[in-house]
């Protein structure tokens, strides 16, 4: 009898006798389904791998080799310290400078600059639409002057990463970083930095757009093109799924829509005259993970494998350096509750474990007071401690892809790959992601999933401690969030007044005219924006110049 035949025979015994007898007195305590609604089996065996068509060499292979199921890291965390992301910043430059220094003292090496919403959507602090929002969700940065204050005394070279969630305004961020480098006699070509640049997800799920989609897309391609041509260490794109997940997408939808956005960007760059292999290097993909540990590990591995296969199938790419997708795994703010906030430290830890066991090259844990407001310094430090304890005190970092080969994980990885591929094929049938976004399909899918999840929580089908199970009518803990004094708006407005009074306005205005001219001609906007930034033109002024040409998005 062969090994497989013996397994079939023994599994039959287990199913029809051992398990069956046991279940009579000990039935399942609950249903177990993936976020996509697929049932989990009580057990997975080599037979499941066989049925899924799993082949070690085709589907698993080795870390750092296609199809990158096992990540891009040949020696996982034995050689590589994952970047521990720290999205931080609020109020004005001076206060954030202090917070950053505190975090760096406590072990942070990454700075992901949290810009406030007015800055992200191209309004200066004195714009009516900025009312009530200056410095609230991030730092108010109106010009290079603020940037200089922000980074005062902070060494750029020592950081493991420097980035910002500029999606409608990547060229402005590039301008700030390049100007800062010049001031410090640093060559910006040696600096590893990034702008998130993923405008499509803004139209889908995040909302920090400025211009209509066609112009927004062009601006993203401009930034990618500029990075590819002139900034060899700049990472041109962070493909983001986490915001779609936060809006309600299932794990499979999040991955599929993210990869589909990636394909749309590649196609846009190809139309610009770039080659796919120039464009996809140094990309990251960011995903929001929730606590369903087994499915999350499986689908993240499936995501990397599917991406490598899509690039090979659609663009004929073969060089492994172009096929590897690096992952940023984020904890999910939506999985954190306002009730019993300390439970969120546990959730964050589980979500960090998912990142480590999936081979994420970058991890980010949310602060546990997510449901209450902006985090205190101590709460922000806790994010680091979660990651530090997990990485240093467990032995997870001692073995590469320790879950690889698990019958359950590999079977589910195959299932997720199939499910994600089917979604991408559906998007293809609609004419591609740009069309699927434009006709509302993507958002509708996400909203349907969000509502379904809400009903599952309310029915108790999806347990959430503190919400539908183990509720406390009298909670032990309340959190006082950091409040940003609304008077900082006045401070920032005054700073703007001084800026405009002291800079060379003739020069600044000339640079703005150049931005407008470049936009009208359809040129790459980045060079003219860099010049405008260096002349201390403000965010609002630069974006207004573009608004004159492109108009504003009205959803």
């Amino acid at each position: 009898m062969s090994e497989i035949e013996k397994i079939i025979q023994e599994q039959d015994v287990w199913t029809t006798r051992v398990l069956k007898d046991y279940l009579r007195a000990n039935p399942d305590l609950r249903e177990w389904v993936t976020s996509s609604g697929q049932k989990l089996k009580p057990l997975y065996t080599p037979l499941d791998l066989k049925e899924a068509g799993f082949d070690f060499n085709k589907d698993l292979s080795f870390p750092g080799m296609p199809p990158f199921t096992r990540s891009s890291m040949p020696n996982w965390y034995r050689s590589y310290n994952p970047i521990l992301g720290q999205y931080a910043g609020h109020g004005l430059a001076e206060e954030t400078n202090k917070r950053w220094k505190y975090l760096i003292e406590n072990g942070a090496t990454s700075l992901v600059v949290a810009l406030d919403l007015p800055t992200q959507v191209g309004y200066d602090a004195d714009h009516p639409m900025a009312e009530g929002e200056v410095g609230q969700m991030g730092i108010s940065v109106c010009s290079l002057k603020d940037v200089e204050e922000l980074f005062d005394g902070i060494s750029l070279e020592k950081l493991s990463e420097l980035g910002t969630t500029a999606n409608a305004t990547p060229s402005i961020w590039y301008g700030w970083v390049i100007a800062l480098c010049r001031q410090r006699n640093m060559d910006p070509r040696n600096l590893v930095f990034w702008s998130q640049n993923d405008i499509l997800k803004e139209y889908i799920a995040r909302g920090a757009w400025i211009f209509p989609p066609e112009a927004g897309f062009k601006i993203t391609v401009d930034a990618i093109e500029y990075a590819v041509r002139y900034l060899p260490k700049c990472e041109p794109l962070i493909l983001c799924g986490s915001h779609m997940r936060g809006l309600g997408a299932t794990a499979a939808q999040e991955s599929a829509f993210t990869l589909a956005n990636g394909l749309a960007y590649i196609d846009g760059c190809v139309q610009r005259g770039l080659k796919p292999e120039q464009v996809v290097r140094r990309w990251w993909a960011q995903f929001g993970v929730q606590c369903k540990f087994i499915e999350e590990v499986a689908r993240l591995r499936a995501t990397r494998r599917l991406w490598a296969r899509l690039l090979s199938e659609r663009y004929g790419l073969t060089n492994p350096e172009n096929l590897a997708l690096r992952l940023r795994t984020h904890s999910s703010g939506v999985s954190f509750t306002r009730q019993q906030p300390l439970n969120n430290v546990v959730r964050g830890t589980i979500e960090m474990l998912i990142g480590l066991l999936s081979g994420g090259e970058h991890l980010h844990c949310h602060p546990f007071g997510e449901g209450w407001g902006l985090p205190s310094a101590e709460m922000a430090k806790m994010q680091l401690r979660v990651m530090q304890v997990t990485m240093l005190e467990t032995d997870i970092c001692g073995v590469g892809d320790p879950l690889g080969g698990s019958y359950a994980i590999e079977t589910l990885t195959c299932q997720f790959e199939d499910e994600m591929r089917a979604l991408i094929n559906k998007i293809d049938d609609m004419g591609g992601m740009l069309a699927a976004i434009d006709n509302g399909w993507v958002r509708n899918q996400i909203f349907e999933s969000a509502y379904k999840q809400q009903l599952e929580v309310q029915s108790g089908e999806s347990p959430v401690v503190g919400i539908n199970v183990h509720r406390e009518e009298q909670e032990d803990m309340t959190i006082k969030p950091i409040e940003v004094d609304s008077s900082i708006r006045d401070q920032q407005v005054e700073k703007l007044r001084i800026l405009r009074a002291t800079r060379n306005n003739a020069v600044a205005n000339r640079t703005l005219d150049k931005v407008k001219a470049a936009a009208r001609k359809g040129d790459n906007l980045v060079p003219s924006v860099i010049e405008a930034v260096s002349a201390y033109a403000t965010v609002g002024e630069i974006c207004d110049a573009m608004r004159e040409v492109y108009g504003e998005y009205r959803p």
Binding site: E131, G132, L247, G248, R338, G371, W372, G373, Y451, S486
Partner: protein, 124 residues
């Protein structure tokens, strides 16, 4: 139902709207980047019974009093219901400014639907 200000976190507004529709109510979904004036104009144009606002970006102490002030100026007695990430301490201030009720994260849509129904007795 709309979001005031620049914040784009729409899930709460969308899920609550879905639940209200499922319960048989008509929801005019205004989405993102609305000003208080936008909401008032839509309320007048659509002759609504309730205004729902979602706010997570911290600007509630500025925008919401402005909204209730504008409604008062128009002579409108339409209840304003707020949802989002709102510090507990601010709820009293907001109610004093004219907000009828504030719903925080973790509230069930059943509770919200019941509450909306109670605002229009004999109708829903």
């Amino acid at each position: 139902m709309g979001k005031i200000g620049l914040d784009g976190h729409e899930r709460g507004a969308a899920v609550v709207s879905h639940a209200l529709r499922d319960a048989g109510m008509e929801v005019i979904y205004l989405g993102l980047r609305r000003t208080p004036a936008d909401l008032v104009a839509a309320a007048i144009q659509e002759d609504v019974d309730v205004i729902g606002v979602s706010l997570l970006s911290g600007g509630h102490l500025t925008s919401i009093p402005l909204l209730t002030k504008l409604l008062k100026e128009e002579g409108l007695d339409i209840p304003v219901i707020l949802g989002g990430v709102i510090p507990g301490n601010d709820i009293t201030v907001l109610k004093q400014a004219g907000v009828r009720e504030v719903f925080l994260p973790g509230t069930s849509t059943d509770e919200i639907v019941r509450y909306f129904r109670s605002l229009v007795p004999g109708r829903a």
